[in-house]
Symmetry: C2
Subunit: 343 residues, 2 copies
């Protein structure tokens, strides 16, 4: 049963686990991916291989780590491009709208299936960090430590505006077919590419683009309408690669879900958080203009106002929002210290 | 003869003049519009009606003001959607690429036609401000005062990236037809709408969007994939209105021209500016993240290093890049004082 009142069944979940659950079950950690991630968090090709692995902050020698592709995704977990068992065709636009709570509910079932009765920590960045917050709200007694990186309790008007541009590009692509492109044997490649190009600019800092590319041109010829500056080639490459690995419906559904996230507007949030003993560690990065420090500070206030134990630090990093996937100075040590602090 | 070596003839220019040229010809002011402006600067519907008019800083009771649609435009001046006299069809992608110098050359001819032998001032914001700089470089003895607002001497990698997204949206619209959409009886409406929506976010400040719209929804119903938040309706409205009044080819050509602007990379710029007696007034706005204060400060340094008289101020305004079209505190007085200062 979803928050919208609709039912979705069956639900398949793609997941990976790393490490071994202790006999007392006290060492489980769930890792929550961001908008375009998947279950492969650690190891070769893992999206968080700097954070999750043997000897890393989310230490797979020490913790039993669970990482799953989220509901609505396109990397193995049921999502809008999955087959609707009632019709034998892809759900497409008939897939129900989701909430972060729905995503958490699926992960809770997965943890139950794996025999995890409580979490040493839930860890996530960006959308993943927002999901960690939702975890605590939905199950205030389940998690000891919540690590929330480069996230927010709700999107700003500018955040929503960028999402709207991306969805507009996708849904006005003639190959979108009202979201039934799979049945038409097409993909809204152009729209998805443009959406990703626009979004990608918001994931990096202006200074990163400047330092990496500046105004360097690839060729030395006369001016041209074709891509010429290195930053254009880079952006197009990002867009084209994304189209190969990501589903447009999932992109539309998950960005739309995020627009509506606003847990503190719901009185049940305060009720839940007043009871929780979960400790929060928030981290933001000074060059992140998508989820800037002000958004983390607001969440800090919201938590503390309810008596939740929470700390925050802004770290210096030139890499914008994407810093949470990288290793800016102090970042890994900070997460490690929080996860191992017995207090 | 254009900078590219190609010739464009004939060239029509749409222009307006306000006020009367003094007998000694010493009171002429040229006003340069931004990317999507036109010749109608003053009066009802004028894009700079707060700045240009009777009793305003660019005082039409006092100055003879000339405002023209720039070369490559779509508001009366010859541009890529004009008819190519050699073929009887629209130029489309056969229109030559332009430089700011080409735009200045056309304006210089217009001024000669109007009997203007020197300028009391050239005034412009954004692209218009960049054009004012080019004016001085191309004719260092022609202009007494240069007013450059919310501009830059060259685009940043992030600026180019946003332009690239817009052009990608336009040129991958199936109705683009390689730029020959007019011959196909179509318009790349979707691409142009998406391009404008993305660009519009960069014209306003995040705090403006937040203050004006926040997370307010238009309707009270359940979540939906359709536009719902006010900021979405606003952006879409901006995009749709733009498609009605602006040509996609002009948008592609002028944004592309701007990408290549980099006058200080050309040694002739230093040569010209060392000889000029033009005084510059630069203004930036603290919430403008498209052409931020650092870009104005860089231009200030570049000018001063060549012995050019130049001053700069950052004004406080919550309205982002669009501030140059509005009336933030101190702005109009500052421009007025500079234009009337006899020193």
């Amino acid at each position: 049963m979803l928050a919208s009142g609709r039912t979705l069944a069956p639900v398949e979940v793609a997941y990976e686990t790393y490490g071994r659950l202790d006999d007392d079950g006290g060492n489980a950690v769930v890792v929550c991916h961001a908008l375009t991630g998947d279950a492969r968090a650690a190891g070769e090709g893992g999206w968080w291989r700097t954070m999750v692995g043997p000897g890393l902050p989310v230490d797979t020698d020490r913790y039993f780590v669970v990482s799953s592709n989220l509901l609505g995704g396109c990397r193995g977990t049921t999502g809008p491009s999955s087959t609707d068992p009632r019709t034998g065709r892809p759900y497409g636009p008939d897939f129900p709208l989701l909430t972060l709570g729905d995503l958490v509910a699926v992960q809770r079932r997965l943890l139950a299936h794996l025999g995890v009765a409580r979490l040493h920590a839930a860890v996530g960045g960006s959308l993943g960090g927002m999901q960690v917050l939702q975890w605590v709200i939905d199950d205030p007694g389940f998690i000891d430590r919540a690590v929330v990186v480069a996230a927010s309790s709700r999107l700003s008007a500018e955040n929503i505006a960028f999402s709207a541009v991306g969805r507009e590009a996708i849904t006005s692509d003639p190959d979108w077919h009202g979201g039934r492109y799979l049945e038409h044997g097409t993909l809204p490649r152009t729209g998805l590419r443009v959406a990703r190009m626009a979004a990608h600019i918001t994931y990096v800092a202006a200074q990163t683009l400047e330092g990496k590319f500046g105004r360097t041109r690839r060729a030395d010829g006369p001016p041209s309408l074709e891509p010429d500056f290195e930053v254009e080639h880079y952006l197009r490459h990002q867009g084209e690669g994304f189209v190969e690995r990501f589903d447009a419906l999932t992109y539309v559904y998950l960005t739309r879900m995020l627009d509506y996230v606003d847990p503190f507007a719901d009185p049940r949030t305060a009720e839940a958080l007043r009871r929780t003993r979960t400790r929060f560690q928030l981290t933001s990065f000074d060059s992140d203009w998508r989820f800037d420090t002000a958004q983390s500070l607001r969440l800090l206030e919201q938590l503390r106002a309810l008596g939740v134990r929470a700390e925050h630090a802004e770290l210096s990093s030139p890499h914008g929002h994407d810093s949470f996937l990288l290793t800016p100075p102090g970042y890994l040590d900070r997460v490690r210290a929080f996860l191992t602090d017995p207090s």
